[in-house]
């Protein structure tokens, strides 16, 4: 599966970490970790800017994260109009890994609070596309 399937609209089709999309389809949201110096990256990277190695392993973002901030959009860029309204969010997981994405629409706006516990979970989109979203544990 190619990277062009990631998200509502994808802006680029080529990256060396396109296995990210394959892993999403297997139910995993993953970052990369440098085998040489142990630096962990989310979003995943093909290259470590700490030690210049390109020898990376995948790791999965698991467990409960905490909502750092969010915003619900009333206007959208081209291609996202039908998704409105939707909520962009930043969630912090263990090991200082943070993930940017959207809150699940199953979470009501009155229930959103900074610091709330959230999991990250792959989600299938129309037209054979795939992404991830934050859901309640």
């Amino acid at each position: 599966m190619g990277f062009e399937k990631f998200g509502t609209v994808s802006f680029t089709s080529q990256t060396k970490v396109d296995e990210f999309v394959e892993r999403l389809s297997q139910g995993k949201v993953s970052g990369t970790k440098c085998k040489k110096c142990d630096a962990a990256y989310f979003p995943p990277r093909a290259d470590c800017c700490g030690c210049l190695s390109s020898d990376m392993d995948w790791f999965d973002v698991v467990g409960t994260g905490r909502l750092i901030s969010y915003s619900t959009l009333s206007y959208a860029p081209t291609g996202f109009e039908e998704d409105l309204p939707y909520t962009a969010a930043l969630v912090r997981f263990n090991d200082d890994i943070q993930v940017f994405g959207r809150l699940s629409k199953a979470i009501k706006s009155e229930d959103i609070a900074l610091g709330m516990d959230l999991l990250v979970s792959p989600v299938k989109l129309p037209c054979d596309r795939i992404s991830y979203e934050f859901v309640r544990p």
Binding site: T8, F11, S69, S71, S74, F100
Partner: protein, 383 residues
């Protein structure tokens, strides 16, 4: 006094739709800056042309504009750090002079945002951040700043009304700035009841797109004294960058790059926030001005709200900020914005700011941000 001075400043009116080409738009700011000095085009050693390329139809505008302005065959080049492009131009211009390569350097910032259609503009908005890992979620600039606002509210108890007060102040001064795109009074209720763009930010928390140009002429110390009676000296320069993706940010209650750049600029100028008499900060959104109060040290973290509640950033307050209306009133023609902010501070330090003039300022500061805290440039000027 320092080694490099600003000897000429100019700005076009900032408008919604400029009825001419980018060459003609650039010429408006250029003519105003050149007219302030006795310089002839051949006296300009090099020109730095600043804009955000995604709005330009013309490929490689630097050579095209330099020819139109009469600045060839001297070297010219294009410089981009989105909204902070022309402040970065000042840093590079300073270096060209300080290195001895040139005596006089011209920085021209421009943006004709109406050069592309609104549909094209909507499409570009989606590509304003990390196109691999953020844009596929449908992000836009207001949403990112809105996330900073939410985090600031939660940590410090700042309110939507505090942000609205910043817009009311901007409108107060936009009315007296003849070059501003938005020159109407704005009432607190009007801000609070305007359409929500991205919670908690509303339409009046956001600046407007505009077309415009700005021009600054820098000269080496010995030349500066011949060119103007009131050289304004570049005392401090700071620049920094930060991760584009929000996932790489330590905190959303301020902009780290602004704090880093401010530290560098204050160290170079050997002074601190308490020494600044007048400032221009990058208020692309009201929350951006609130964070600037704190990132620059005019208020402690979380206490920026008291500055605006007590009107301390008004013209007669402790530290007048954006008394030209800021981006919120002037409009934000990306590549021209930093140069416009510098121009305002130069006029203030010369005592030539007209109705906007604050009382006897000696030191001025400009805070110019590119992207959502992706780039920051802080410039400190003295009369």
């Amino acid at each position: 006094m320092s080694d490099v001075a600003i000897v000429g400043v100019g700005q076009s009116a900032f408008v919604r739709g400029y009825g001419g080409s980018i060459r003609e738009l650039a010429f408006e700011a250029y003519r105003e800056a050149m007219t302030e000095t006795q310089l002839k085009p051949k006296d300009i050693g090099a020109s730095i042309i600043c804009s955000a390329p995604e709005y330009d139809k013309q490929r490689t505008p630097a050579g095209v504009l330099a020819e139109y302005l009469g600045l060839i065959p001297q070297p010219t080049f294009y410089l981009e750090s989105v909204c902070s492009s022309s402040s970065m131009g000042v840093k590079v211009g300073y270096s060209l002079i300080k290195s001895g390569l040139h005596d006089v350097v011209l920085i021209l910032g421009f943006q004709k945002m109406s050069e592309i259609t609104s549909a094209e503009s909507q499409e570009r908005m989606g590509r304003g951040a990390d196109i691999i890992w953020e844009s596929p979620f449908g992000t836009m600039m207001p949403a990112y700043y809105a996330m900073h606002a939410r985090a600031h509210f939660d940590k410090y108890g700042t309110t939507e009304e505090d942000l609205a007060l910043i817009r009311v102040k901007a409108a107060t001064y936009g009315q007296i700035n003849e070059k501003a795109v938005y020159r109407k009074e704005v009432a607190l209720d009007q801000v609070l009841s305007s359409d929500v763009v991205s919670t908690p930010l509303k339409r009046f928390d956001c600046c407007a797109n505009a077309d415009g140009s700005s021009c600054l002429i820098l000269a080496r110390q010995d030349r500066a004294r011949d060119l103007t009676k009131k050289p304004i000296w570049i005392l401090g320069l700071g620049a920094a960058s930060a991760p584009v993706n929000m996932a790489g940010r330590d905190s959303l209650t301020g902009l780290k790059c602004a704090r880093e750049a401010a530290k560098e600029a204050f160290e170079m100028a050997r002074m601190g926030a308490q020494d600044v008499d007048v400032a221009e900060v990058h208020d692309c959104f009201t929350i951006a001005e609130m964070m600037a109060y704190e990132d620059l040290g005019f208020a402690k973290p979380g206490e920026g709200k008291y500055l605006i509640r007590d009107k301390e950033t008004y013209k007669d307050g402790k530290i007048p900020i954006n008394v030209d209306g800021g981006l919120l009133s002037k409009g934000h023609p990306i590549g021209a914005t930093g140069g416009s902010q510098l121009r305002t501070v130069v006029l203030q330090l010369r005592g030539e700011a007209g109705k906007m003039q604050v009382k006897n300022p000696r030191i001025g500061l400009i805070h110019n941000i590119g992207g959502v805290g992706l780039y920051a440039n802080i410039t400190i000027l003295g009369g």
